[in-house]
């Protein structure tokens, strides 16, 4: 996985930085933040679709990471560990917002009814746009489609397709089984294929 590092930073091992953080050195934590801030922000942004919320949640995630860095044992990579924090913070936030909004934003039960697991590939009947969509329009379509997924399904599809994480890494990050990850991935893909087929087939 790529990280945001300069050549000088790359020389310092991640574990060494973590050890220094555990000794209370904030400058070491600053380096870790610099390495992962863009990816963490992008991941959260793709989950919540709002720059300010993504900024705040990324901040909260890093501060939480700092507070609990003493408990990091190095059994997994720091990246997986911090992603777990990021996902907990973001999914909690989405769940709370869902409760405030009356719980209507996403509903997995409805999704399952809508999806035929063995459905054939049939282009949507919706008319295609006459010209290529503007970038913003495409982005809006993607954001809308993703916003229809539950937080857990969003997390799985984004970690798999954008971060290119392995099943076991996703499972570790979300604290669930590999089977659950694969199952969520199946439904998330189906749902997005149904929602975005006309876009990705034509852009």
């Amino acid at each position: 996985m790529e990280t945001e590092t300069t050549p000088a930073q790359a020389d310092v091992s991640e574990l060494d930085l973590v050890r220094r953080c555990q000794a209370g050195q904030t400058d070491a934590f600053d380096q870790l933040v610099t390495r992962y801030r863009t990816r963490v922000f992008a991941m959260i942004y793709n989950m919540v679709h709002n720059e300010q919320d993504a900024w705040d949640l990324a901040q909260e995630s890093f501060v939480k990471a700092w507070k609990s860095i003493g408990r990091f044992k190095g059994k997994s990579s720091f990246y997986t560990w911090i992603y777990r924090i990021v996902m907990n913070v973001t999914i909690d936030w989405l769940r709370k917002r869902q409760i405030k909004a009356g719980g209507a934003e996403f509903d997995d039960a409805i999704q399952l009814k809508e999806i035929d697991p063995a459905s054939k590939t049939v282009p949507k009947a919706d008319p295609l746009p006459h010209q290529r969509m503007e970038q913003k329009e495409v982005r809006d379509r993607i954001d809308h489609a993703i916003s229809q997924l539950s937080p857990e399904h969003r997390a799985v599809i984004l970690m798999k397709e954008i971060e290119e994480m392995q099943y076991h890494e996703i499972a570790e990050t979300l604290g669930c089984s590999i089977g659950t990850v694969m199952s969520r991935l199946f439904y998330a893909r189906k749902k997005l294929q149904n929602s975005l087929r006309d876009v990705y087939e034509n852009v």
């Binding site: 600053d30 610099t34 863009t38 501060v63 893909r189 876009v199």
Partner: protein, 169 residues
């Protein structure tokens, strides 16, 4: 035993072994449609990666700076709460010590306290009273006047004699 969803996902991501692949593809009712579905899913993955993978974080240095500030604030808060945690037991101990000192002082003062000296005259009267041989019917009352609290009345009965230096004081 893997579910259909798990097998489908593994098939799509090409994570099945040769044996599993053969078994799974043989179980599909329409392999051609499934293959098309697979191509669509892969296209979707590439499309998402292309569209969502380039999110830029603005004000990167400010982002770090803000985290630093929050960490510093958190450290201060923790230090303050630790100070409070130390102050409360201290207050309890100080209170308990003050109370103990007060009790000890009170006990010491009370044990050292002696009642005011009794007048010689009263002593003589009481001695007369307590000698049944000399004054078998003696009765002595001492009370304060109800009308005037400043006057103490000494009422004697049955005394055979009064002390020689009797005087109204």
């Amino acid at each position: 035993m893997k579910t259909f969803e798990e097998k489908w996902t593994a098939w799509l991501d090409e994570k099945l072994s040769d044996k599993e692949l053969a078994e799974f593809e043989a179980s599909l009712p329409d392999l051609a449609a499934a293959q098309a579905e697979k191509r669509g899913a892969r296209k979707l993955g590439a499309f998402l990666k292309e569209q969502l993978g380039a999110q830029i974080l603005g004000n990167e240095e400010f982002f770090n700076h803000q985290i630093h500030e929050r960490i510093a604030r958190d450290k201060e808060d923790r230090h303050r709460s630790r100070s409070i945690r130390w102050t409360i037991p201290r207050l309890v101990w100080a209170g308990a010590t003050a109370l103990a000192l007060f009790l000890v002082t009170t006990v010491v003062l009370m044990t050292q306290h002696q009642p005011g000296e009794q007048s010689e005259y009263l002593t003589q009267i009481l001695n007369s009273r307590v000698d049944p041989a000399a004054n078998p019917n003696a009765t002595i009352y001492i009370f304060e006047s109800k009308n005037d609290n400043k006057v103490t009345v000494l009422w004697t009965e049955g005394l055979q004699s009064l002390p020689a230096d009797y005087a109204a004081k």
